[in-house]
């Protein structure tokens, strides 16, 4: 029997990707559970909304860190940009939520596109420093241009009802959570599609060995710029949602601790399989609420301790646990996922 020809290989590859891209029932349950939680816990709509937005932000970091292996200590730059873009647009009278969302994502994507070439040279250390530097510069710009951003006071604004019908301010917290849920779900579906596309495969190759990926004919620079721009747009959307549902954009969105927190969320949930950011965001925020209810000032200590243990015990081993759990509950689905 002869080796399969190029068309045969392509056909097999396409079939493989299609198989992997199929939605499985634990995933469907996951999303239905979130939706149910929004309706079942109306008093918790505020915190659910916060989790959903943080989850979107962590998902955007997963796109670059989990899929392409690009480290960043300054992802908050895009969160802040998206938030301020949406806030400035709304404060100028264009207060439709969807418009602000698209505008916030677009502004952040543009900034991602412009700064992505900085990531192509140097090692991980350089990338950590460059991303951190860019976010600090943007934060300082927002701080100094108070005629536009309101400076240290932040920018308060009012937001129009969603689709002209549903208020998403503090009078409609459930609407806000549903709005964030819808945005998160659509963007997640797109990200999932991306991850299971030839583009996603190329990113995985870059993550594993960039030199070898380049030798295989993958234009690694172009791929990295592309995914960084997409991730920036996602973070910008998260920022816009955050600003719209709280009616304020403030300087702390650019802070270092935002970038560090989102990285912690993603690491807690595990990188590379897209659900990690959502699970991590939920765990992080619930943990924070529980711990800070018990010891309001010192909750950071426990997060720090968890991190140190996580790293020393081996991040990969712990991150594999949720997938092993899935394998336990649904062996067939997990096998297909691993195939």
């Amino acid at each position: 029997m002869s080796a399969p020809g190029p068309t045969e290989t392509l056909r097999r590859l396409a079939a493989h990707l299609q198989r992997r891209a199929r939605w499985r029932w634990p995933e469907i349950l996951f999303w239905l559970a979130i939706l149910a939680a929004i309706f079942a816990l109306p008093l918790r709509a505020g915190i659910i909304n916060e989790v959903l937005i943080a989850g979107l932000f962590a998902l955007s970091l997963d796109l670059i860190l989990g899929l392409a292996g690009i480290v960043s200590l300054g992802h908050a730059a895009f969160l802040g940009l998206g938030a301020y873009a949406a806030a400035i647009l709304a404060s100028k009278g264009l207060a439709h939520p969807m418009l602000g969302l698209v505008f916030g994502a677009a502004v952040a994507a543009f900034a991602g596109l412009v700064t992505a070439p900085l990531l192509l040279r140097g090692g991980d250390l350089t990338r950590l420093m460059v991303t951190l530097g860019v976010s600090l510069m943007l934060g300082e710009l927002a701080n100094r241009n108070s005629w536009l951003t309101g400076g240290a006071d932040g920018l308060n604004f009012s937001i129009a009802p969603l689709l002209g019908l549903f208020p998403i301010d503090f009078t409609g917290q459930r609407n806000a959570a549903l709005y964030s849920f819808a945005v998160l779900f659509v963007l997640f579906a797109v990200a999932r599609r991306l991850a299971h596309s030839p583009f996603g495969l190329a990113l995985a190759a870059i993550r594993e060995n960039r030199l070898r990926a380049g030798a295989l004919g993958v234009d690694t620079g172009l791929r990295i710029v592309a995914i960084y721009t997409v991730a920036a747009a996602y973070a910008g959307a998260a920022g816009a949602l955050l600003a719209q549902t709280t009616q304020i954009a403030s300087l702390d969105l650019f802070d270092f601790h935002r970038s560090a927190d989102v990285m912690l969320m993603l690491i807690i949930g595990g990188t590379g399989y897209l659900y990690g950011g959502l699970i991590g965001a939920a765990a992080f925020i619930v943990l924070r609420d529980v711990i800070s209810a018990a010891t309001p000032e010192y909750w950071e200590f426990w997060i720090g301790l968890a991190l140190v243990i996580l790293v020393l015990a081996g991040r990969e081993r712990i991150a594999a646990a949720p997938r092993k759990l899935v394998a336990l509950v649904a062996p067939r689905a997990a096998r297909r996922g691993a195939a």
């Binding site: 480290v71 100094r144 950071e300 720090g304």
Partner: protein, 287 residues
């Protein structure tokens, strides 16, 4: 004009002592130690507490501000840090952020949130006029002490046996080990020394930054990183020039162009990284 320059130099010298330890661990040993500021905070607290509670004179507290963080540093290095020498940058970042997150609440729990002040002795307070240029006595003191430390470090690294061993261990740990150099011990001592210097820097900086408080490790983290980025991995000289440049730019920027503030130093850092992305952190990469 000259006053600003001298203030900038003094600030830069202070940054150098604070960051020189980091330029050893991060610049030479390629370990991303974001918890460096925690050691500086410990040094600052040692001086403040010894002076305020035990009534010790300022100068006598400085050795303690070096020794305590150094001992702490070597203890942490032996138990925790050394496990991560070969780990990915991401793991090192996460681990040291975790340490910072733990250090801050511990400090707040033990000593409270309000800043601990260091009250300078009378002979270091005040200003002197020299050919019409006014400068604070403490600034001169800082320039003298930090200059001496920089010179001593440079001689130490270049002219002593230990310095040569450290440089060899950093260049290629395996070959150095093969030549009979105890790399483990060298790294531990270097780490302790860097932590001690950070503590000393913290003690000297306490007055300039308005007291030591639990948020110190985060407040100056970024500044440290910028120093090392600009200075690169050229050892002591690089870090010294990086610190001086940053100190002068920061003080002059705050004076002449307050409206753009800290933007200058961030811009300098990013531009440096764009122009010389490989050169600054070339050590250990691509090998």
């Amino acid at each position: 004009m000259l006053t600003i320059l001298l203030d900038g130099v003094a600030y830069g010298m202070l940054l150098f002592v604070l960051a020189s330890g980091l330029s050893v661990t991060l610049g030479l040993m390629n370990f991303i130690n974001l918890a460096h500021g925690a050691f500086a905070m410990v040094g600052g607290y040692v001086t403040a507490l010894l002076m305020n509670r035990a009534g010790a004179p300022f100068l006598l507290t400085l050795p303690a501000a070096f020794v305590v963080p150094a001992v702490l540093g070597v203890a942490l290095e032996r138990t925790l840090y050394r496990r991560l020498y070969g780990a990915s940058p991401l793991d090192q970042v996460l681990f040291t952020i975790g340490l910072v997150l733990m250090a801050m609440p511990i400090a707040a729990y033990l000593l409270g949130d309000e800043p601990q002040q260091v009250h300078l002795p009378a002979w270091l307070d005040g200003r002197i006029e020299f050919h019409g240029v006014g400068i604070g006595v403490y600034r001169l003191f800082i320039i003298a002490i930090c200059g001496a430390i920089a010179a001593a470090l440079q001689t130490f690294l270049i002219n002593t046996r230990f310095g040569a061993q450290l440089r060899a261990a950093v260049d290629d740990a395996r070959v150095a080990q093969g030549l009979g150099i105890d790399v483990d011990r060298i790294f531990a001592i270097a780490f302790a020394f860097g932590s001690g210097l950070a503590g000393l820097g913290g003690a000297l900086a306490a007055d300039v930054v308005g007291g030591i408080d639990p948020s110190f490790p985060v407040k100056f983290l970024v500044t440290f990183l910028i120093v090392v980025t600009i200075g690169g991995s050229n050892g002591i000289i690089g870090a010294l020039f990086g610190s001086l440049l940053l100190g002068v730019l920061d003080v002059a920027g705050k004076y002449y162009a307050p409206s753009i503030g800290a933007f200058i130093i961030y811009a300098v850092m990013v531009v440096t990284l764009i122009v010389r992305p490989q050169g600054l952190f070339a050590r250990g990469e691509g090998r």
